[in-house]
C-alpha cells in the first residue's frame, strides 16, 4: 500500500513549518535514512529522513511552501512493485487529502505582495491567518469560552474537523499574554510613508518573530534587576595562554569558554540562581545547562552546553565551536537549543565593556560579559596595570533576590579570578 510522508514535528511545540526544499524528486528511489527534504522552523533548519525504502511517487507540497501544518501529507511513497496508478486511488480514497495544501498556497508568493505593499503605502498588511471571507470556524462552546477568557479566536489553531476551533483548543490556547510584538503608537511604516522617508522592507522571518515575541514577553512580564561585578582577568589570560600553548592544536580555549565554565560552577555553588519561576513552584535545576548566545545571520540563538559543571574546558571549547557553527548554518536540533538553565551573552569581541541583557525565559538569570580592558588598578596603595572584565547579571526577582544574585556573582568572580579552580 502506498504510504504518506507527513510533515514532521521537530519539537513538541511545533505546529507548522516551512518545507524549505526537496532534496529528492518524484520518481527517486530512497532508502530508509536518506535525506529527502529540508524543513525550516522558527529556530532551525532540519533534514527529513525517509523512514521506509521506496519510490517517491508524488510530491504533494512543493518546496518553499510556508506554514505547512504538522502531519500534513507532503508526499507519497510507493513500495517496490507498486504502480503509479495506486497513488491516485490511494489519494482519492483519502478524503482528507484535498484539504492538505491551502495553507501553503496562501503565502507561497511573498515577493509580489512585498512589491505591492511598497507601491501602495496606505494598504494595510494582510493577516495571513484569517480566511478570505473572514469567517472563523469554531464550536459554540469554543466561542463562548474564548470570549470568557478574552481570547481572539482567529489566533487559535483549530484541531476539529476542517480546522474548526473546539473546546480543547481554547483550553490549551495561551492567554493573550504572549503579547503582540507590534509597536504601540503610530505604525513605523505608516509614519515613514507619511513623512516620505525612504526604506526597504525586509519580511519578518519566523526566527525574528519568535525573538521579538519572547523578548517582549520577558521584558514585560519578568521583573528584571541588574548587578555588575568587575573581575581581574590577568591570571585567566596567563592560564589561557599557557594552556593553549601546550594544546598541540587540539583545542584553543577562548575567554568565553572560561566564562561558560565559571558560570556553570557558580550555579552549582549558588543553586538558588539555577532556577525557574512557575505559578505553582520554583523549579531548581540540578545541572548547569548553560545557554550561550550566538549571533547568526538570521538572528540570535542560544545553543546549550549541557551539564557544563562536569565538562572540562577543552571539551566545552570544542563543543561550543561545533554548536556555534551549526547555529550559523541553521542546523541546530531542537534539543540543542531548548532547555538551558542559565544564559551567557558575551559582546567583549566587539569592544563592549559593559551591558545588561534580557532574561531568556523560563530561566531566571543571564550573565552579560564585556571585553577585557587593560587599565590602572589600585593594589595595596600602589597603582598597577591590570586587565579587568565586567559581568552584569540580569535576575528574575520572582526567583532570585538581590543577595542571591550577589552571591552568584561573587562565586563567578572567584572562578574567573582564580582560573585554577576551573581545572579541579
Amino acid at each position: 500500500m502506498p504510504t504518506k510522508i507527513l510533515m514532521p514535528a521537530l519539537s513538541p511545540t511545533m505546529t507548522e513549518g516551512k518545507l524549505a526544499k526537496w532534496t529528492k524528486n518524484e520518481g527517486d528511489v530512497v532508502q530508509a535514512g536518506d535525506v529527502i527534504a529540508e524543513i525550516e522552523t522558527d529556530k532551525a533548519t532540519m533534514e527529513v529522513e525517509a523512514v521506509d525504502e521506496g519510490t517517491i511517487a508524488k510530491i504533494l507540497i512543493t518546496g518553499g511552501s510556508e506554514n505547512v501544518a504538522v502531519n500534513t501529507a507532503i508526499a507519497v511513497l510507493l513500495e517496490e512493485g507498486e504502480e503509479g496508478a495506486d497513488v491516485d486511488a490511494f489519494l482519492a480514497s483519502d478524503t482528507a487529502a484535498p484539504t492538505a495544501t491551502p495553507k501553503a498556497d496562501e503565502k507561497s508568493s511573498p515577493a509580489p505582495q512585498q512589491a505591492q505593499a511598497i507601491n501602495t503605502p496606505q494598504r494595510k498588511t494582510h493577516n495571513g491567518k484569517t480566511s478570505s471571507n473572514g469567517r472563523i470556524f469554531a464550536s459554540p462552546l469554543a466561542r463562548r469560552m474564548a470570549a470568557d477568557k478574552g481570547l481572539n479566536l482567529s489566533q487559535i489553531n483549530g484541531s476539529g474537523p476542517h480546522g474548526r476551533v473546539v473546546k480543547s483548543d481554547v483550553e490549551t490556547a495561551r492567554p493573550q499574554g504572549a503579547p503582540k510584538t507590534s509597536a504601540s503608537g503610530p505604525n513605523a511604516r505608516e509614519l515613514a510613508d507619511m513623512l516620505g522617508m525612504a526604506y526597504e522592507v525586509e519580511p519578518v522571518t519566523k526566527m525574528r518573530e519568535v525573538i521579538a515575541g519572547r523578548l517582549t514577553e520577558s521584558k514585560q512580564t519578568v521583573p528584571h534587576f541588574y548587578l555588575t561585578v568587575e573581575c581581574r582577568i590577568d591570571k585567566l589570560m596567563d592560564t589561557r595562554k599557557s594552556v593553549n600553548a601546550n594544546a598541540n592544536g587540539k583545542y584553543k580555549l577562548s575567554v568565553n569558554d572560561f566564562v561558560i565554565k565559571a558560570t556553570a560552577m557558580a550555579l552549582q555553588d549558588v543553586p538558588a540562581a539555577n532556577a525557574s519561576w512557575t505559578d505553582e513552584a520554583i523549579i531548581k535545576y540540578e545541572n548547569s545547562d548553560v545557554s550561550v548566545a550566538v549571533a547568526t545571520p538570521t538572528g540570535l540563538i542560544t545553543p546549550i552546553i549541557k551539564e557544563a559543571e562536569h565538562k572540562g574546558l577543552p571539551s566545552i571549547s570544542v563543543e561550543m565551536k561545533e554548536l556555534a557553527k551549526k547555529a550559523r548554518d541553521g542546523k541546530l536540533m531542537p534539543h540543542e537549543f531548548q532547555g538551558g538553565t542559565c544564559s551567557v551573552s558575551n559582546l567583549g569581541m566587539f569592544g563592549i565593556t559593559e551591558f545588561s541583557a534580557i532574561i531568556n525565559p523560563p530561566q531566571a538569570c543571564i550573565i552579560a560579559v564585556g571585553a577585557g580592558v587593560e587599565k590602572p588598578i589600585v593594589e595595596n596603595g600602589q597603582i598597577v596595570v591590570g586587565t579587568t572584565m565586567k559581568a552584569t547579571l540580569s535576575c528574575d526577582h520572582r526567583v532570585v533576590d538581590g543577595a542571591v544574585g550577589a552571591q552568584f556573582l561573587q562565586a563567578f568572580q572567584k572562578y574567573i579570578e582564580n582560573p585554577i579552580l576551573l581545572f579541579v
Binding site: 500500500m1 502506498p2 504510504t3 504518506k4 507527513l6 502531519n71 500534513t72 501529507a73 495506486d86 486511488a89 490511494f90 480514497s93 483519502d94 482528507a96 484539504t99 492538505a100 464550536s139 459554540p140 462552546l141 469554543a142 463562548r144 469560552m145 470568557d148 484541531s159 476539529g160 474537523p161 476542517h162 473546539v166 473546546k167
Partner: protein, 464 residues
C-alpha cells in the same frame, strides 16, 4: 500450512472488528478478519440484536394486554415462547449473513477459526493451519460473561445471557443477579411475559452507571410492574434443587434471606477474552484483565492494536466500532483523527421503560467541580407521550453554569433510546444551551421534552 500477506488482520468479527476491517478496506488496505464463531460477534448473535427482538415481542404482548385502554379488544392474549425465540434467532441469523455480504463486498478475506498472535507480526488461524503475515494487527476479541465460583452457569438452572435468550420453556419465577443493562433487560423481558422476577443488586441502587434520579425512577416503574428489587444485597450461596434454585441472600441489614426460584440469571459483568490469543508472544500489557491501549488503540507491542470490550469499559458495540475506525484511520495516517471522548459515548438500556444517557451524571458533574444547572421535564407534560399512553418518564439535562456546556443528558421512558442521539450530536459539536434553545423541535413529538428540559435548566420551561 498456507501463508498469506495482509496489510491488516483483525482478530474477531464483532462490531469492533468487522467495522475496522471494512474501514481498512475502504482506505485501500488488504484486510483479513479471523472469526471463531459468527460474524457480528456477541452483539449481533448473542447480545444487542436478539435481545431487542425478544423485547419487541414482550412490548407488543404488553400493548395487547392493555388494548382496551386504546379502545381495542383483544381476548385470550397469549404467547408462543418457541416462536418468540425462533424470531429472535432468525433476526440474528439474517444480520450475521449481512455482515458476511458486507465484508465480501469490500473484498475483506474472512478466515473461520481461532486467531492467535504469533511473534513478528504473524497471526495463526486454528494453531498454524494458516499463517497470516500482517503489517498491522487489531485484537477485537471482545468479552464473555463473568462467572462467580460456585455459581457457574449450568445451562439448566443457572443461566447466563445465552440460556436466557433461548429458553425452551417459561419459568414461573426467576432471580436476576446484577442490575446493569443486561440484567435489567432480561428482568424486564421475563417480567413483562408474566414471570415473577426478583432482581438482586450488590450496590445501593439499580443501573449504577446511570444518574441516580433516573435509576430511582426506573426502580419505581419496575416495582409498579410487580418486579421485586433488592439492593445492597449479595448472593452468598446458591443451592440447586431438583427444578429450582435457592439463593442465600445477605441483605443490606445483615440478615440472610433464602429466595427460591425456578431459574437464576447471572448478569454480574464481563471479563475480556484475552486467553489463548497469543498475548504471551507480544509485549501487550493488561490492566485488570483488559488490554492497555493509548488514545489511538495502540498496545505496547508495535503494530498490534486492540479495540472494543477487550480494552475495557464501557462495554458497548458502538464504542467498539468507533474505536475500530479511529484505529484504522490513524494507521492510514489520515488527518484530523482524534482520540475518542468518552463523555460523548451514549448508553442505552432497552427495558420497559427504556433508559438512555450520555455524559456526566449529576453526582459526577458536581464531583468534577462543575457549578451546574439542572433541567428536568416529565413525560406527563408532553402531548405526544399522553397520546401514546406513555405518561411515565423524564428527561434530565445538566449544564455547566458558566460555559453552558451540556455535561450530561439522562432519560427514562418510552423511545428514549431513539432520542438520545440528538443530545449526542449536540455534545459532539459542543453546542451550548443557546443552540438547544434555538433549535426548533417538531410538534408533537417526544423530542420536545429534550427542548423543554434545556429550557427548564435555565428557568424558561413552557409546558410544565
Amino acid at each position: 500450512m498456507a501463508e498469506h500477506d495482509f496489510d491488516l488482520v483483525v482478530i474477531g468479527g464483532g462490531p469492533g472488528g468487522y467495522v475496522a476491517a471494512i474501514r481498512g478496506a475502504q482506505l485501500g488496505m488488504n484486510v483479513a478478519v479471523v472469526e471463531a464463531n459468527h460474524l457480528g460477534g456477541i452483539c449481533l448473535n448473542w447480545g444487542c440484536i436478539p435481545t431487542k427482538a425478544l423485547l419487541r415481542s414482550a412490548e407488543i404482548f404488553h400493548h395487547m394486554k392493555h388494548a382496551e385502554a386504546f379502545g381495542l379488544s383483544c381476548d385470550n392474549v397469549s404467547f408462543d415462547l418457541k416462536k418468540i425465540v425462533e424470531r429472535s434467532r432468525g433476526v440474528a441469523k439474517q444480520l450475521s449473513g449481512g455482515i458476511g455480504h458486507l465484508l465480501n463486498k469490500n473484498k475483506v478475506t474472512v478466515f473461520d477459526g481461532y486467531g492467535k498472535l504469533l511473534s513478528d507480526g504473524k497471526v495463526g488461524v486454528d494453531g498454524k493451519k494458516e499463517i497470516l503475515n500482517a503489517k498491522h494487527i487489531i485484537v477485537a476479541t471482545g468479552a464473555k460473561a463473568r462467572q462467580i465460583p460456585g455459581m457457574e452457569s449450568d445451562g439448566k438452572l443457572v443461566w447466563t445471557y445465552r440460556e436466557a435468550m433461548t429458553p425452551t420453556d417459561m419459568p414461573k419465577s426467576m432471580i436476576v443477579v446484577g442490575s446493569g443493562a443486561i440484567g435489567i433487560e432480561f428482568a424486564s423481558f421475563y417480567r413483562t411475559l408474566g414471570v415473577e422476577v426478583t432482581v438482586i443488586e450488590v450496590m445501593d441502587r439499580i443501573l449504577q452507571a446511570e444518574d441516580k434520579e433516573i435509576s430511582d425512577h426506573a426502580h419505581k416503574s419496575f416495582e409498579k410492574q410487580g418486579m421485586r428489587i433488592i439492593t445492597g444485597a449479595k448472593v452468598a450461596k446458591l443451592d440447586k434443587n431438583k427444578d429450582s434454585v435457592t439463593a442465600h441472600v445477605e441483605m443490606a441489614d445483615g440478615e440472610t434471606q433464602e429466595i427460591t426460584a425456578d431459574r437464576i440469571i447471572m448478569a454480574v459483568g464481563i471479563v475480556a477474552n484475552t486467553d489463548g490469543i497469543g498475548l504471551e508472544n507480544t509485549k501487550v500489557k493488561l490492566d485488570r484483565g483488559h488490554i492497555v491501549t493509548d488514545g489511538y488503540m495502540k498496545t505496547a507491542e508495535k503494530g498490534v492494536y486492540a479495540i472494543g470490550d477487550v480494552t475495557g469499559a464501557p462495554w458497548l458495540a458502538h464504542k467498539a466500532s468507533h474505536e475500530g475506525i479511529i484505529c484504522v484511520e490513524k494507521i492510514a495516517g489520515l488527518d484530523g483523527v482524534h482520540p475518542m471522548v468518552k463523555e460523548n459515548i451514549p448508553g442505552c438500556t432497552y427495558a420497559m421503560p427504556q433508559i438512555a444517557s450520555v455524559g456526566l451524571t449529576e453526582e459526577k458533574a458536581i464531583a468534577a467541580g462543575h457549578n451546574i444547572k439542572v433541567g428536568r421535564f416529565p413525560f406527563m407534560g408532553n402531548g405526544k407521550a399522553i397520546a401514546l399512553g406513555e405518561p411515565e418518564g423524564m428527561v434530565k439535562t445538566i449544564f455547566d453554569a458558566s460555559s453552558g456546556e451540556l455535561l450530561g443528558a439522562h432519560m427514562v421512558g418510552a423511545e428514549v433510546t431513539e432520542m438520545i442521539q440528538g443530545y449526542v450530536i449536540g455534545k459532539t459539536m459542543e453546542a451550548t444551551e443557546a443552540e438547544f434553545m434555538h433549535t426548533i423541535f417538531p410538534h408533537p413529538t417526544l423530542s420536545e421534552m429534550m427542548h423543554e428540559s434545556v429550557l427548564d435548566a435555565y428557568g424558561k420551561v413552557v409546558h410544565f
